[in-house]
């Protein structure tokens, strides 16, 4: 049993990890004592010890730079290094959102051009870069739907396919709508008959991920769009899976009224361990007046921030995650139209290659060409007493990050693999070998999987205990004495 240390363990009174200037002007009288704090119990650590501590922790982590990271629906592609350098240029990183527009023309131009590229890629008429993440882009879409139907309060429902990511229904609720689930058919597409029976004048919009979370392109998208629009409702896209479509098909052409993108997925910005992301929302003409504020406009040679006529409002104190936009801009400009199309093609080739190679070993619930990701079911292994989670944990022993498991929820024991285009055939082949060996172990030595992982910094963790007895922080200093050590 190893011991893990935390900051209080390496803190010692009198150590410092900073150097700051002395005050070179007269000191002022302090505010009344009752406004001042008596204690500030923060760690005291020297710089070198601090660096070793965090460096040690970084080595317990697995990132794209560590190895293959086929986490389905997350598009964990390689993040080009020079984008990091450019985003840190003082002219990008050290500018204030409330400086006069004339002093940030470079930033506004970059945003203006990025808006135009995303409009072109999605076939939409207007773009706002304001949403701070994909989920907030979804919220923007839903609030735009609400604004569009503002004179029609009967439209109280948002339809969401049962294959959808959890954010879609959660967003519907945040918009104040009732969320109604639409079943999928046996091919993995939206069940058209069911959709037709649910569609009525109370539906405000259908939110559709395309390709869907099974990695499948719904062949009847034209018909779906027609069914929705015939009843006066809107079609919202979730662009989480755009990585398979760039240069191949456009949301605007297919009848979507709005779609949110994830710059951190398709456009290769680092995921940061869970953010920052960026979730621009793109709209067709019918909705552009409602786009979140601001959008960047151009008058003559001058760029300026503007607010759409009936905007749903602002979504943050500034204008979106600019630092993420800089990286996405660099990615799009590096590749151009042909390069981005190749990205999608290679992502789709890689996924289909895994599908063909692994389908003899893992149940494939929908055997048709997949797009950028492939969903297997671990139900064959389940009969051998091995769960999808066991397979995932065993993959860790082989040095791979596991795929997404148990999502989408409509697939029993789902194993959702998204290789992305930035992986080589050689990497995929070694992943395939590992998956084959795991399938063999499931038959011959299931205990090997139940006890996995064996070679990671920690073994399987007790999540039930974490939830039952929440230990969410350490305490130190007076705070410790005052509040106990619960």
């Amino acid at each position: 049993m190893s011991r893990r240390y935390e900051l209080p363990d390496i803190s010692q009174p009198g150590k410092v990890g900073y150097s700051l200037p002395t005050l070179d002007m007269p000191a002022a009288e302090l505010p009344p004592a009752e406004m001042l704090r008596s204690d500030l119990a923060l760690p005291e650590v020297s710089e070198a010890e601090l660096v070793r501590y965090f460096t040690h922790l970084s080595k317990l982590n697995y990132g794209i730079d560590t190895g293959f990271y086929p986490l389905g629906s997350c598009t964990m592609k390689y993040n080009p290094k020079w984008h990091e350098d450019v985003a840190r240029l003082p002219g990008f990183a050290s500018i204030h959102p409330f400086q006069p527009a004339g002093s940030v023309q470079g930033a506004l131009r970059l945003m203006f051009e990025l808006q135009a590229y995303l409009a072109e890629i999605t076939g939409m008429d207007g773009v706002s870069l304001a949403p701070l993440a994909g989920a907030q882009g979804e919220l923007a879409s839903i609030l735009m739907v609400k604004a569009y139907h503002r004179k029609d309060s009967a439209r109280s429902k948002i339809l969401v396919p049962d294959s959808a990511h959890g954010t879609n229904p959660a967003t519907g609720t945040m918009g104040g709508f009732e969320v109604v689930s639409v079943p999928s058919d046996d091919k993995g597409d939206v069940d058209l008959g069911k959709l037709e029976s649910i569609m009525d004048e109370n539906v405000a919009a259908l939110t559709l991920t395309l390709p869907n979370t099974l990695g499948l392109f719904d062949t009847r998208i034209g018909k779906i769009s027609q069914l929705v629009h015939d009843k006066g409702a809107l079609l919202c896209g979730d662009g989480a899976n755009l990585n398979s479509l760039v240069g191949k098909a456009r949301f605007g052409d297919m009848g979507f009224d709005c779609v949110q993108l994830n710059l951190h997925k398709t456009f290769s910005t680092p995921h940061g361990g869970g953010g920052p992301g960026s979730g621009p929302v793109c709209a067709r003409a019918v909705l552009t007046e409602f786009l979140p504020s601001p959008v960047v406009a151009k008058d003559g040679e001058e760029y300026r921030l503007a607010s759409p006529a009936s905007s749903i409002g602002i979504l943050g104190a500034a204008y979106g995650n600019f630092g993420v936009m800089v990286r996405a801009y660099a990615y799009i400009r590096t590749l151009g139209a042909a390069g981005l199309r190749e990205v999608s093609e290679n992502a789709v080739i890689n996924a289909n290659y895994l599908k063909e190679k692994l389908k003899p070993y893992y149940h494939l619930p929908y055997d048709r060409p997949c797009m950028h990701e492939i969903v297997f079911s671990g139900k064959r292994q389940k009969t051998q007493g091995v769960r999808a989670l066991d397979i995932a944990k065993r993959l860790l022993d082989f040095g791979f990050h596991p795929p997404t498991v148990y999502f989408p929820i409509i697939v029993d024991e789902a194993i959702m693999v998204e290789p992305t285009e930035s992986e080589s055939k050689a990497t995929l082949d070694s992943f395939i070998d590992a998956m084959k060996q795991i399938a063999r172990e499931a038959e011959e030595n299931p205990e090997m999987l139940h006890s996995a992982p064996h070679h990671t910094p920690v073994r399987r963790l007790d999540e039930a205990k974490a939830a039952r007895q929440p230990d969410l922080r350490w305490r130190m200093g007076n705070d410790k004495e005052r509040a106990g050590t619960a």
Partner: protein, 444 residues
């Protein structure tokens, strides 16, 4: 043309397509109806790394950056000293190329640093629990309002009129979804409605003043409303934490803890509250537990609040927690530590008061408020702030926020530890050129 981001060669692709059993990649896109297949789309031609680097460097050069200019602009985003260790630690790619730590066994780095972050936020704000972070201070405030609505089942959100107007707007955007009513409460709190879910106050206020949080707590709690305090974390290096006044939820902008302003994003929303509200918190939370061998480890926990489990009944749709910016905040707070953060806060305080006393000594200038302040203060100027700011800019200074919409010729100035005496003196010198303007024609 080969791409550095596509490792497969033509030969690899041909072999893979053969194994898949198709002759052409287009066959894999057969499910896309022909009428929707894009013929072409128009983007600028591809550029190489050196060409594009040069172009983007030039583009960045069109912006006046705060390293080259003296900056007295705050209003929610603050330029503070960032020790180099912060950039080096968050620049480790094991941290920044990872994603949400679903696989705890290979994500202990992200998980433990998040646990450190939560602990440090609690120590700083005095609150009992913190989540793993939110998008920014304004959305954290909006989520706090929604949480107060869930906890109290009341639909009215009261916002003190001295709260950052952009925060108020974001709260309004979020409130729209739930059809909540926003109520602006003037100072004095006489008009706080008895059916409010919460009172939202900012400390220091948007205009820099230190509010009477004790009074806010008494009034709001007396009516059964929660007290939500928007904090400026650096000020907590010297000011009493909101918990001491009885705050129920504390939110704030975490950018000032080790991250550059970056045109306002990416930044970080702080979110901490009383332990009894744990199951209503939005967003990710990390907890400490043990593995099968009894060794300590960390996991995402209390996930039944979240969208991926609870779907339409989740506390929020948020997925990400600005993890990398939260990591920056953790490294920053650990580096500055007990003495350093107090020092930063005191430097801000003394420098701002030096500047304020000099400015209020100029003819035609006065402080708008007499209340105590931290490092930001509103000044009434003898000329339109836009004009003064233009003159300042020509002298290498980015002036304060133009408040003339609410205060006649008002300007909100901010001073941090990074403003040197020389910079402050230059600010005063340019401001002085306008001091006779109220009596005479401008001399400029």
């Amino acid at each position: 043309m080969p791409s550095p981001y596509l490792p497969n060669t033509d030969a690899d692709r041909a072999a893979m397509l053969r194994d898949i059993g198709v002759s052409d990649v287009e066959e894999l896109f057969q499910d896309i109806p022909r009428e929707f297949r894009s013929a072409s789309f128009d983007l600028p031609r591809p550029s190489s790394e050196p060409e594009l680097k040069a172009e983007m460097r030039a583009l960045s050069g069109l912006n006046a950056n705060l390293d080259d200019y003296a900056c007295f602009l705050g209003a929610g985003f603050y330029r503070h000293f960032i020790p180099s260790v912060v950039g080096h630690m968050i620049g480790r790619s094991e941290f920044y190329t990872a994603y949400t730590p679903y696989q705890a066994e290979v994500s202990q780095g992200t998980l433990q640093t998040t646990y450190e972050y939560q602990s440090l936020v609690c120590q700083l704000t005095g609150m009992e629990v913190s989540n793993a972070g939110m998008y920014d201070g304004s959305t954290a405030a909006a989520e706090a309002a929604l949480m107060a609505n869930r906890l109290t089942e009341r639909d009215r959100i009261s916002v003190l009129s001295t709260v950052n107007p952009r925060y108020r707007e974001v709260i309004e955007t979020y409130a729209r979804g739930h059809d909540l009513v926003l109520e602006d409460v003037p100072p004095g709190l006489e008009h706080l409605s008895p059916d409010s879910a919460c009172l939202i106050v900012q400390q220091p206020s948007f205009l820099g003043c230190l509010e009477d949080l004790g009074e806010c707590a008494r009034k709001s709690h007396g009516l059964g409303a929660l007290l939500i305090v928007i904090t400026y974390p650096v000020s907590l290096g010297m000011l009493r934490p909101p918990s001491d006044y009885g705050a129920d939820i504390v939110v704030g902008e975490g950018q000032s803890l080790g991250s550059p302003i970056s045109f306002g994003g990416p930044v970080l929303g702080l979110f901490a509250c009383r332990r009894e509200y744990l199951r209503q918190i939005p967003g990710r939370i990390v907890g400490k537990t043990t593995d099968v061998e009894g060794s300590p480890g960390y996991v995402l926990t209390l996930a039944t609040r979240e969208q991926h489990i609870r779907r339409e009944r989740a506390t929020s749709n948020i997925c990400t927690n600005e993890a990398l910016i939260a990591l920056a905040a953790a490294v920053y707070l650990a580096a500055l530590g007990k003495a350093g953060l107090r020092r930063v806060a005191e430097l801000c305080y003394h420098k701002a008061h030096y500047a304020a006393s000099k400015i209020s000594g100029l003819k035609g200038y006065s402080l708008v408020y007499q209340q105590p302040f931290f490092n930001e203060f509103a000044v009434r100027c003898p000329a339109p702030p836009a004009r003064i700011n233009r003159a300042l800019f020509e002298n290498g200074v980015i002036g304060g926020l133009d408040l003339s919409g609410t205060v006649e010729n008002g300007m909100l100035l901010c001073v941090t530890e990074l403003n040197t005496r020389q910079q402050i003196d230059r600010l005063i010198e340019v401001l002085a050129r306008f001091q006779m303007e109220s009596e005479n024609e401008p001399s400029l």
